[in-house]
């Protein structure tokens, strides 16, 4: 009697589950698709082929989803991943990117695949054909490098032009010409000239021929000194000034034309969608803010920071641990002796 009752219960449960599964399919909205785009402009065939095989299933408008990918509730997860992937990098919209953006994207792509963050390990489990070989990663690397070779160092006279521009701006200011309002990023972060009084926490260059100076405010500097990255304290702010490289006669490379000013501001509550960091970028001498909506950082910035800089609280520019403690102690001792002569 007990056995019959148990079987009945099992049948009802299975029926309910089956019915629920069928009902779920009515809430299964397929993700929008578009026709294949063909080879990416300016990208060699072998690189295009790798991207198409390994990345397009999420990072384009053309998905070749398996039967299981289309069944709810799996499809919900798949569609969410695709939407997020398209926001960060959509190869179907490659032509809309500027040359500088294309170069930046390729460096990001290479860094992601080199670090084994892309394709997502969970995706490779179900799509083993998407896994990249060492040779394929090297092919992407060589193409990324070739993008930089096209650029030469900007001629020295560009600096003179820049100085003249600044002199002209100062002249306007002296004449009492109204100064433009402080630029504001779509997420509310304003251009903050105070960074000039912050501490320089590092310098960097990129093969894309830029040279960068990174500043940190007091809260950020204290956080770095205390290794307090998980999480960074609210109020931490980092500013990065980006310039083109200029080669001097003695072979040294110095900052040339101003490119942009980038900020990362920590506010856990306000920027919860981007690991608590608010991003802002102000471009060119006009300091034109990047982004059309407050969500721009979710679509372009946080992806790389999340995948490649998690160990330092999603910030790339933390000074690396490369100085021996003894060396720095010696330096500080020398400094102290000079201040307090016997």
């Amino acid at each position: 009697m007990k056995h019959i009752k148990r079987n009945k219960l099992l049948t009802i449960t299975l029926l309910c589950l089956g019915l629920s599964f069928i009902v779920l399919q009515f809430f299964n909205e397929p993700i929008a698709q578009a026709s294949a785009k063909g080879q990416l402009e300016g990208v060699p065939e072998e690189v295009s082929f790798i991207l198409e095989r390994s990345c397009y299933n999420c990072h384009s408008n053309t998905q070749q989803l398996s039967f299981f990918d289309k069944i709810a509730p799996i499809s919900w997860i798949v569609n969410k991943d695709i939407k997020r992937a398209r926001e960060v990098m959509n190869f179907s919209e490659w032509d809309k990117l500027s040359e500088a953006e294309k170069k930046g994207k390729f460096y990001a792509i290479f860094n992601m695949v080199k670090a084994g963050k892309m394709p997502l390990p969970s995706y490779i489990l179900t799509h083993p054909e998407s896994k990249l070989s060492k040779i394929e990663i090297e092919t992407i690397k060589q193409f990324a490098l070739s993008l930089s070779e096209k650029d030469a160092f900007i001629p020295l006279n560009t600096v003179a032009d820049t100085i003249q521009t600044f002199q002209a701006q100062q002249t306007f200011a002296a004449l009492g010409v109204a100064k433009a309002e402080v630029p504001v990023s779509p997420n509310g972060i304003t251009y903050n000239a105070d960074f000039k009084s912050w501490k320089v926490i590092g310098m960097s260059t990129l093969i894309d021929n830029s040279i960068r100076i990174i500043y940190g405010n007091d809260i950020a500097v204290k956080a770095i000194a205390a290794e307090n990255f998980h999480p960074w304290p609210d109020g931490s702010a980092i500013a990065k000034a980006v310039f083109k490289q200029t080669k001097k006669a003695n072979g040294e490379i110095v900052p040339g034309d101003f490119v942009n000013m980038q900020y990362m501001v920590k506010d856990k509550a306000k920027y919860s969608g981007t690991e608590g960091w608010g991003f802002a970028k102000f471009n060119g001498h006009e300091l034109k803010p990047t982004g059309k909506t407050a969500l721009f950082a979710q679509q372009s910035c946080i992806s790389c920071h999340r995948q490649l800089a998690a160990s330092t609280g999603f910030l790339f520019n933390v000074p690396p641990k490369v100085n021996s403690k003894k060396l720095i102690e010696n330096y500080l001792k020398t400094l102290q002796n000079e201040k307090d002569p016997i």
Binding site: K196, S204, V318, P320
Partner: protein, 145 residues
């Protein structure tokens, strides 16, 4: 029991091999140069020597570099040079690495230039005059107003 032990052993091996490698930065620290009252003037890097430098100075130092008058009195500079190294987090990027030297340049009340080394050694093949020329060859980095 044997099977359980084997599985436990296998999973621990996988866990250990997947976890982050023990960093080779034992005994190494992060360093941020404290310029005190001096302000940041400019940066540079030398691809041949694989070094990266930051120049700091007081207001008089900024004036000295900005004008043709190189006899500006009471100017004070510090040129901090690091080894240039690959960014461990991002291919294609180079960052300042180990501290190599801190050089100073000052002008006295008569505008005489005085060069010194606060830390490290003068770069090989260079003399005092060449180092002073290197200081004075910098241009103040320009930001939008």
């Amino acid at each position: 029991m044997k099977k359980i032990l084997f599985k436990l052993l296998l999973s621990s091996v996988i866990f250990v091999s997947c976890s982050k490698n023990v960093e080779s930065d034992a005994g190494k620290i992060r360093f941020m140069f404290d310029a005190g009252d001096l302000m940041f003037i400019s940066s540079s890097f030398n691809p041949e020597r694989q070094t990266m430098s930051a120049l700091y100075g007081n207001q008089q130092a900024v004036s000295l570099l900005s004008s043709s008058n190189k006899r500006q009195i009471r100017s004070s500079f510090k040129l901090v040079t690091y080894q240039m190294q690959d960014d461990p987090n991002y291919f294609g990027s180079k960052v300042n690495g180990e501290l190599l030297r801190v050089e100073t340049l000052k002008t006295d009340t008569k505008g005489n230039l005085e060069y010194g080394i606060e830390f490290g050694k003068m770069p090989s093949g260079q003399n005092k005059d060449q180092r002073i020329a290197n200081f004075l060859d910098h241009e103040v980095v320009k930001f939008p107003q």
